[in-house]
């Protein structure tokens, strides 16, 4: 909202897991220092073996640190699994894949939180040990767990639905519990942003948890905002979104259905070739598949150019 030169946009990206992390990585490689802040969903956070696990924060951190594997959406590339192997040998209940190097993140986070540090500070320290310099902000310091109510009437903690139940049970409703206070740092970042980028993350379980925090939707509405569609040709690149859209909204999965979900917030929208539609805002139609590092940078530059033109 502050007046900045077009060459020095102050950008806040709202991100979930893999898709968000990849766009953020492209933005990170395309923007000067000090211009990008990433606000990350903590609705997927859960406790396992007494550890505080923050899947989306980890995915974004590891991606910016260049540690994410190309072939899976979690953990550290080339990690070993000695701890997990021992847990299996002993028959200790386990279903969450924890690598040995990855474990240090959870141990360090859990230890610091138990000593009274905020998740915001803990995340900043973890970023430092990983050599990540962009500010990565958890959306909240207190827990705000997402749960999935299925059409059969069961309620799952999000990670149990996603990983343990393999996202199979049809979704009726997404619920949020716990705090609705964003961290002070998140409000500060939004307050000075020239541009909000809604990453190609799941709107229901990655972006809504951020947008529904007190004051966030208003701040986004009052700032130039572009979103990137997480649906390409009717498919999600990753995750359960393509089946969730019809289950929750009744619409077929499409870039347009996601835009309708963000009604009133968008000043521009980026979609994959063939996904454009009649909209009350400009649409950037370009290759939004951003798996390689080159594609991430190419797309991030196009997106920034598009946003500047609005």
């Amino acid at each position: 909202m502050t007046a900045h030169s077009q060459n020095n946009l102050s950008i806040v990206a709202l991100a979930g897991g893999v898709g968000g992390a990849r766009l953020v990585d492209g933005l990170d490689r395309s923007l000067p220092p000090g211009s990008l802040t990433v606000v990350v969903n903590t609705g997927d956070d859960f406790r396992r073996w007494g550890l505080h696990i923050s899947p989306d924060l980890d995915t974004v951190m590891y991606t910016l640190a260049g540690l994410s594997p190309e072939d899976r959406g979690w953990g550290i590339d080339g990690d070993t699994f000695h701890v997990l192997a021992e847990a299996r040998r002993r028959g200790v209940d386990e279903w969450f894949q924890l690598g040995d190097r990855d474990l240090v993140t959870h141990l360090s986070r859990t230890g610091s939180l138990s000593q009274g540090d905020s998740l915001t500070r803990v995340t900043a320290n973890l970023c430092k040990t990983l050599g990540v310099v962009r500010p990565i902000l958890p959306m909240t310091d207190a827990p705000r767990p997402t749960s999935i109510v299925t059409q059969a009437g069961e309620e799952f903690v999000f990670q149990e639905w996603l990983v343990k139940a393999r996202a199979a049970p049809a979704v009726k409703e997404v619920r949020r519990q716990g705090t609705d206070e964003p961290s002070p740092a998140v409000l500060d970042a939004l307050d000075t942003a020239d541009l909000v980028v809604i990453c190609p993350s799941n709107p229901y379980v990655s972006i809504d948890p951020i947008l529904t925090l007190k004051g966030v939707t208003d701040a986004v509405r009052n700032t130039r905002t572009v979103a990137v569609s997480p649906i390409l040709g009717g498919q999600a690149v990753k995750g359960p979104l393509a089946t969730m859209i019809p289950e929750i909204s009744g619409y077929a999965p499409s870039a347009k259905a996601v835009a309708m979900h963000y009604e009133g917030l968008l000043d521009g929208y980026a979609v994959h070739p063939g996904d454009a539609f009649d909209a009350p805002f400009p649409i950037l139609e370009t290759n939004t598949l951003i798996q390689s590092k080159e594609d991430r940078v190419r797309f991030a530059r196009e997106l920034i150019e598009f946003a500047r033109s609005l």
Copy 2:
């Protein structure tokens, strides 16, 4: 206190770390099922990286499971250290040696405790996953941390004094905080014991934490009790006891000084050759160095025979 045949003694062993674990291992290999219960010090328990770590419980469990290394007093033989290596790489503060397989114990314990299980139940479950069948009872379910007050007037949590400060600062006093309630299972075991064995553990920081729990000293006093000296020829086999005795009691470190500390409790006492003294109870003078499995069994059999003769 119950009348049992001499061939079927019901024995409760009070144990700390390595020395206690080795005697308990000898007893375990010498006694029929159902005759031995081990009560273990939890005064050394501490939290690290958010994990609940119980060094003495782990040493006893691993020793009975046949997993303890011969050449060091902690962890699992042949364990790997991938997690620790990553912590060092990242510069995450660490001083406690945690192996990858060992970590599963702490993770599993911490997870179960955080779900409301008692330490007694958690320990029983850990024993099951490790194939240990003898009952191993933590002395308390709630925390009872030992701290060391140094002659310089500093107060250390026990493990920080032992590991981080390498037991160097001279000891003025040993303190205990937290609960003084033994677990119900400990009182039950003492209630039906024919014989209490005080293992060759540190009297100040391993045995006193158990004896000073409500009702325990009375139960021990009312039961036939033998102790094994942790001092052999003026030296401790392991740990800081030989320097603690003069610092705390003013006496030279000796088997006798330890027996005086247990005044009024002993019906018999086992010491290393050359360590016998004039005592108001019978003394078994024999090789009490029990590092090998063969020595553990040989000594345990002598000790049981000695106790039966009292």
